[in-house]
Structure formats: C-alpha cells, structure tokens
C-alpha cells in the first residue's frame, strides 16, 4: 500500500532485465508453437505429477492401484502425525455404510469381492471411471466436502447416546511407527474408546481375547453404574465371548481403509492388519437391523463417491 513507494527504484532496474528477458522470450516462443490444445496440455501434464508430492508414489502407473488414484495424495489434515508423510487417500468406493461381508442380505449393492481382496475390486471399478489422470487439489474442493455420493455417510447406527461413528473423510491418523500398530476400538454402550496394538497379536483369537480384556471391566462398570452401582461381585465382570463367530452378545467388526465395515475373520490376518483402520464391538442383535434402519437413507450406490 502506501508505505511501499518504491516504484522509482524499480523502474531503472527493469531496463537491465531486457537482455535477460529476451532469453525467456525465446523460450516461450518455442513453446508458442505447441500452444494449441492437446500438445500444450500434454506439456502441462508431463510436469504435472502432483506438484508437491505424492511423495510415496514414484511411478506414473497411476490408474492401476486404487491407492494411487487419489485426488488428494497428501495426507491432508494430519498435522500432528506429520512424520507419517503424505498418506495417500484412497477414493471411496461404493460403500453402503455397513457392509458386513456375507451378512447383509438386504444390501442392494452386491460386492462380493470386496472383503476378500479390497484392492482388485476397487481398482476394477476405479478404472472405468475416469480417463484423465487425477490431479492434486483439483477440482478445488476441500476434503470434508468429499465423500458425499452416498446419501448418508458410513456412520454406524449409534449404540448409545454418544454416537460413536466415524466418517470416512476424517480418517484419524494411526500411529504407523514400525513398533506398533495402534487402532482405535469402540464398543457399544461404552462411551470411551480404547486403543489396541495389533502388532501384539498375530491371530484373530488373540485379538478377540484382548478385546475382552479391554472392555470387560468397562462394561461391567457401566452396567453397575446404570444399575445403581449395587452389586459387583465378579472381578471384572462377565467375559465377552463369541466376538468372532456371531455367537456372542457382541460381534467384532472393523473398518478398512476404504471406510467399509466388515466382519472380522474373513481375510488372512496379515491382510487384515494392512487394511484395518478402526475396530468396533457391536451388539450382535443389531447387525441385521442396522442395515434395515439405514436402507432408506441410501442413495444409488453406483454413483461413484468422492
């Protein structure tokens, strides 16, 4: 503004620039020939690897892998785990909010391959969707405005008054240090979530056991509290069993990196570990009804999300 009255200083020096300017002009003259249409676009596109990263992606074979077909290669909004680098945000595939594999007869979106091999199923639907290479930050939509293709997000139906859902667009950073793999776990009826370190277990059975240990006491305290805190004769409360096979009062489900909700146990452990983002312990009785409750909120599921 007014404070910067340096125009006079600037002018004489501009003249000095002319010889240099000529260099730039000759350069742009060359480029003028390729001005029109596609070749120019190609030139732009060549330089257009995402300008600031996709630090994790070196090759241009972008269309194949689901993870790389991202419009937002930066791990956006994960400042407090900046060391995690630029997480690649995968495009949200067709996701009914709850897709417990094999459980949802009412689901209008058959996607059988999904739980078994997440990558291939999504890449096949991804390939047919877009022709141009996705570009970082284009179209200019902030991340929290994405993932609106489904009428309702993949939030779970609430277990308690504190709806403990999680939205895809708000992937919370998980500590990805090599030492541990902590994922959040929430349980129906327990407002306070916990974290479990998946590296400490190598099988679903062990995980189920850990979940029991984590929540048994909390659940007991919860029910005691609501019962007026009258009795507490057992040590830590009732054991939580049958998490894996649907036989118990609760069932363990997880949310993968695409935001789908899946039953535990269908894929090999190591595959589960690589794709799990969050765990939930839901009341078994609510699993089939959940789908019913949400159905009329669903939109046509072949509209591509994100």
């Amino acid at each position: 503004m007014e404070g910067y009255s340096r125009k006079d200083e600037g002018c004489p020096q501009l003249l000095d620039l002319i010889p240099k300017e000529k260099e730039w002009l000759t350069k742009s003259a060359e480029e003028k020939q390729t001005r029109n249409g596609s070749s120019e676009e190609k030139q732009l596109e060549l330089r257009l690897g995402p300008p600031n990263g996709d630090w994790t992606i070196k090759n241009k074979n972008i269309s194949r892998e689901k993870d790389h077909e991202s419009l937002l290669p930066f791990g956006y909004f994960s400042p407090w785990s900046s060391s995690s680098g630029y997480q690649v945000k995968s495009q949200k595939q067709t996701t009914p909010f709850l897709q417990a594999h094999g459980q949802l007869k009412e689901s209008s979106q058959p996607n059988p391959a999904k739980t078994a091999v997440p990558n291939s199923s999504s890449s096949s639907s991804a390939q047919k969707r877009t022709a141009p290479t996705p570009v970082v930050g284009w179209p200019p939509i902030r991340s929290f405005r994405k993932n609106l293709a489904n009428g309702s997000s993949s939030k779970p139906v609430s277990e308690s008054q504190n709806a403990v859902g999680s939205k895809i667009s708000s992937e919370k950073p998980i500590e990805n240090s090599p030492k541990n793999l902590l994922v959040k776990i929430n349980m129906d009826g327990v407002p306070i979530g916990r974290k479990v370190d998946l590296k400490e277990h190598d099988s679903y059975e062990k995980l189920s056991f850990a979940v029991d240990e984590l929540f048994r006491g909390l659940l007991a305290a919860q029910s005691n509290f609501s019962a007026g805190g009258i009795k507490n004769d057992e040590d830590g409360g009732k054991a939580i069993t049958g998490l894996l096979d649907g036989s118990g009062e609760y069932t363990l489900v997880y949310e993968d990196n695409e935001g789908d909700r899946l039953l535990i146990g269908d894929v090999p452990w190591h595959m589960f570990v690589s794709s799990v983002k969050r765990l939930r312990v839901l009341k078994s009785s609510e699993l089939p009804t959940l789908c019913r409750g949400r159905k009329h909120g669903k939109r046509s599921l072949d509209t591509s999300p994100k």
Partner: protein
C-alpha cells in the same frame, strides 16, 4: 454461514510511514504555564490538547482503512492512532512480526490473523509449511492480556497454544477458528474450562483431532453466557448430556451448530430447550439410533415450529430426506439455508425451497440438478449468494448441473451478488447472460471441473463468457476462472477488471501475455493464485511495480524458473520469495519451480521455514 471470507479488503501495510519532514511540532513539547491565577496549574500545550482531542475522536474511527489513513498524517496522529486502535487485522501472519505489532499497538482487544494461502486447502502445500500461532501467542500473551476477541484463519494451532491462550486471556469472549489445524479436543477442553467469559466459540472447517477428551463437560456449570457455539466440523463424538445441560443454562444462546454425531432425536431435545435460536446447524439430521419398533417418532415439525426466530439453517450432514419436511415451519423466515451436505434431488428440494421466499444465501449440492436450480430461481427472488457444490468432485463425471441451471438462476435471482458454481459443462452464452442479468455481482467463481473444457455447444474457449463478466459486472472484486481459456480472456480481465482484488486461475492461458495483462491491468489486485498455467519469468517481471501492493502471489506448476524468482527477490527486497520444491528422483529434473509463493513483509524472511521451502 461457515467459512466465508468476509474480510475481503486488502491487508494494510503496517509500516511506519516515512515522515522525513513532518510539519508538526513535536508533541512532546513541555507545557508552558499559561496565564491565570493558579501557579500550580500547567495548562497543556496546544499540541497536547490536540493529541488528547485526537485520541478521543479516533475512538470513533473503526474502519482500519480510515485508521491507516489517519496514522499517516503526521507523527502525533500516528501515535494517537496506535494507542487507540483496538482491533487489528493481520492478513498474512508472515508480513509482519508479532513484536512489531505489539510494539506499535498497545491496547488491542480484538485481533484477526490469517496464515496459509488458500490453495493449502486443496493439498497444494505440504503440511508443516508454517503459519504457527505460537509466536503470535507469545507476543500477545505478554502485551494483550485484556484480549477479548481472537479470530484465526488457516493457522496452525496446537493444543498447547490453546491451553496457553485460555490461561493468558482471562476475559476472552470470542474465539473463532476457521480452516485451522494442529489441535484436538484436548485444546478445546482447555478453552472450555478456562475461558470463563466465553460468549462465542466457533470452529469452522477446521481439522480437529479426536483426543477422546470430553471437552463439552469442561464448560463450568456457572458459565451461562454462551451466545454462539459452532462445532459442526469437530469429527468426534461428544457428551450429549453435557451439551444438553450447557444449552439449558445458556439463555443467550442464539447460534448453535452441531456436529454429525448428534442424531435428530438429540437435536429435538436441544431445540426444545433453545427455541430462541436464530442460527441452527442440525447435525446429522438422521436417527443414528435405531428407532425401536413401536416407539413414536418425535414431532420434529413442532420443534421447528417453536423456533420462531430461526433465520439460518445448516447441517443436514447425513440427512434422511424424509425428515426434511420438518423444517417447513421455518422456511418462510429463513434468510440462509445450507444444504451442501445433503444429497437430495430436485423433487426433494422443491417443497422446501418454494417456501423460502426470503432466502438470501443458499448453499446446495448439484444433486438437485438444473431442475432444482430452476425451482430456486422461481422462488428465491431475494437471493444474494449461491453456492453449488459437486457431489462427485471428479473431472469426468456426469454432472447434473450445467448452463441451464446457471441461466435459470440469472433470470430469477437478479439481485445475486456472489456465486460459486461447480459444473461439468458450461456455455459462454449462459455466462454472458448472467453478466447482464446480475449486474450486482461482486464474486463470480465458476469451476468447470474438466480441465481445459470449452463451451460444450460451440466448442469455443470460455473467453467471451468471463470477458462479459468483468465487463458488465462493474462491482466485481473476486473472480475465479476455469475451462478452456486463452490469453484473450486475460486481456479482458486486465482491461475491465479494475476493481478486482482476488483472482484464481487454474489450467488457463497460452503465453506470458496472459499474466502480463493481469499484472499490468488490474491495479487493485491483491491476491493472485495461479496453478498449472504456462506463465513464465517474463510475465513475472511484468508485475514488479505492483507486487508491493499485493498481499501475495501464488504460482504453482507454472513456467517460472528459479533464476526468475531470484531476480524478483533481488529487485524487491521487501518481498519474501518462497520457492517450494517437492522431492524428486535423481533423473527427474525440472527447470521450473514447483511452487512460488511470495508476499510483502516488513520483517524479512521467516525463521520457521521448513526444509522444503527455500527463501530467496
């Protein structure tokens, strides 16, 4: 509305004016004992009187532009103004050091600080770039203990910052954070528990971590002065009982925007406790719980009917469209409606929108299609601001809205002042029509999502459309262009865009001429952000006489070279020229810089630049 930038005025230069030969006497001249009987009475000098008067008069000057002008008159005016300015606006947190600010202005009650450039919202800036609130906080904690209002936009704020702020500003009344990040619910807990006089707590479009902290419970029971509580962007479950109690003990609460973890049943409970609300964000607008069979659905309609003062409605984060009819009772009073998270179609929109006669601001998803926009056009004759967001933010999608919708809006909503329109296809004719039908346009942002896409009927570039906008909309100050654009479009902008302050360019232009037209033609240009356009060094040099008048220039993936940037830095020492480079492979070289971000600064290069930022 969330996030809209009302502060579109240009940032002011806080520099000490060079008053080499100012005409006034020093106002420190000692008083001369005047006439009169009392020997002990020392009547003030004329200058002193003037300064006293001035200070009292200046209190009435609120506009910062007026104050800036006053401060340039002479030294005593400068001093008086500095002592009496209570509201500060820092448009770029790196343009001036916190210490310089606190040295000059001593009595500050309200401060607004903006940090990162806007393109950071779209992941074009690596994390940890900067804009840390910490240094500002340190300075303010020392000098502005009586701070009442704090507004931060695109700043990086930590939990610790919030704890310190809560502790340092005991009478803080308003805290507004827009597009901020770096903190979580623990930080919010500090604010809630320590800021006992907080009246306004607004968190908008910010990325807030879930530390699983029950921050709502941290508001002390005796805090009853809450007037505005906006937390719709907080992606974490909250303690509903505590919230309900908070609302119940806040009789002055007028604005409440809930996050998506609040079910419609919970919304009902809150609404019946707060029928005095004027602004409501409805949360999920969905029964997150299973409605047990046999249990009666609550009468949401009556809850809305009871809110007779409601004028602004938003939320609908996970709407079950069946519930939308509950809002009918308030539609006739609404001046602002935000359905931009509600994936509804035209048929679902129509019964609502046809009742919204007073609507002035409307945000919506393109799922309503052109037909929905036609309904808007028919019903909302008073519309001033429209934003149409895409359900699918992809380049190659179907696109339910087009030039048809734009044309309809232009024909029905003649008072339109601001539009943001995402679409897949557009024509020059529709844009030209809007330029003629809506002469009051101040903000025109059209995003044709396919890059380089021409007029889909004529096949021509979109030059003529945007040209008509700058030519016919004489009040235009903000413009965003898209589609296939040649240098001609920029010649139009340079020729007619005399009031233009903010311009956003992406994938446009042919040669350096494009940028030259802008830099030479638009005298009021303050904020220029360009990406993926073939503008190079010679264009950059064309702006040398203008850069000190701008808040910033952003150019990413253009054809600017490092040498060019260094030359600019050399020529203009008052600019901070940041070059941001991404990591590359060994064999991958580019003669062009990835990102150039430059801005004027009184205090030189910042000390907190990360390693990927080179300041030239």
């Amino acid at each position: 509305m969330s996030g809209s930038d009302n502060r579109s005025e240009m940032s002011e230069d806080e520099e000490l004016p060079d008053l080499g030969g100012d005409a006034t006497h020093s106002s420190n001249s000692t008083a001369v004992s005047g006439g009169g009987g009392d020997q002990n009475y020392v009547s003030p000098s004329p200058d002193q009187v003037l300064e006293n008067v001035l200070e009292n008069v200046l209190c009435f000057l609120t506009s910062r532009r007026d104050r800036n002008a006053a401060s340039l008159v002479c030294k005593s005016w400068y001093r008086a103004e500095a002592l009496t300015r209570s509201e500060l606006f820092i448009g770029n947190c790196y343009s001036v050091s916190p210490r310089r600010v606190t040295n000059r202005f001593r009595l500050v009650k309200a401060i607004a600080i903006k940090g990162k450039p806007r393109f950071s919202d779209f992941s074009l800036l690596p994390p940890d770039w900067g804009a840390h609130f910490g240094p500002w906080l340190s300075a303010m904690a020392r000098s502005y203990r009586a701070l009442e209002k704090l507004y931060l936009k695109r700043m990086s704020v930590t939990d610790e910052d919030l704890a310190i702020a809560a502790h340092s500003f005991p009478i803080l009344k308003e805290l507004v954070m827009v597009c901020c990040e770096g903190f979580g619910t623990s930080g919010l807990a500090s604010v809630a528990s320590e800021c006992r006089q907080i009246r306004v707590l607004e968190l908008m479009d910010s990325d807030i971590g879930d530390d699983e902290e029950d921050w709502i419970s941290c508001f002390p029971d005796n805090v009853t002065c809450l007037e505005s509580f906006i937390f719709d962007c907080v992606e974490a479950p909250i303690n509903f009982e505590a919230l309900e109690q908070l609302v119940a003990r806040s009789p002055s609460l007028k604005k409440l925007r809930l996050n998506c973890y609040i079910s419609i049943g919970q919304l009902y409970r809150l609404m019946i406790r707060a029928p005095q609300l004027t602004h409501l964000g409805t949360g999920s607008f969905s029964p997150l719980e299973i409605v047990a069979q046999g249990e009666q659905e609550l009468n949401y309609f009556s809850a809305f009917a009871a809110c007779k003062s409601l004028i602004c409605l938003s939320g609908f984060r996970e709407i079950i469209p069946d519930y939308l009819s509950a809002i009918y009772p308030v539609c006739g009073n609404l001046t602002s409606l935000n359905l931009s998270y509600a994936n509804i179609n035209a048929e679902q929109l129509k019964p609502v929108i046809c009742q919204c006669h007073k609507l002035q601001t409307f945000w919506v998803l393109d799922s309503v299609s052109d037909e929905g926009l036609q309904a808007v056009s028919a019903a909302c004759k008073d519309l001033r601001e429209l934003r149409v967001f895409p359900v699918q933010a992809l380049e190659d999608a179907e696109g339910p809205v087009s030039e048809v919708g734009l044309l309809a809006i232009s024909e029905g909503c003649r008072k339109l002042q601001s539009i943001l329109y995402f679409c897949q296809r557009m024509t020059n004719a529709a844009v030209v029509a809007m330029s003629k039908n809506c002469p009051d346009l101040v903000v025109f942002r059209l995003c044709i999502m396919g890059r380089h896409r021409p007029d889909h009927i004529t096949g021509e570039p979109m030059d003529e459309g945007f040209g008509a906008i700058v030519k016919n909309c004489k009040k235009l100050t903000r413009l965003a262009v898209s589609g296939l654009l040649t240098d001609r479009a920029f010649s139009y902008i340079g020729q007619y865009g005399k009031l233009l302050r903010t311009l956003s360019v992406a994938f446009a232009g042919n040669t350096d001429l494009g940028l030259k037209y802008l830099l030479e033609g638009c005298p009021k240009l303050q904020k220029l952000e360009i990406r993926d356009s073939p503008f190079g060094d010679s264009a950059l040099f064309a702006g040398l006489q203008h850069y000190y008048n701008m808040r910033f220039l952003w150019m990413s993936s253009c054809k600017v070279t490092r040498l060019g940037c260094e030359e600019i830095a050399r020529q203009l020492p008052g600019l901070v020229v940041e070059v941001i480079t991404r990591d590359r492979e060994e064999n991958e070289t580019s003669e062009y810089v990835d990102t150039l971000y430059m801005y004027r600064s009184l205090d030189g290069p910042r000390a907190d630049a990360p390693r990927f930022v080179h300041i030239l």
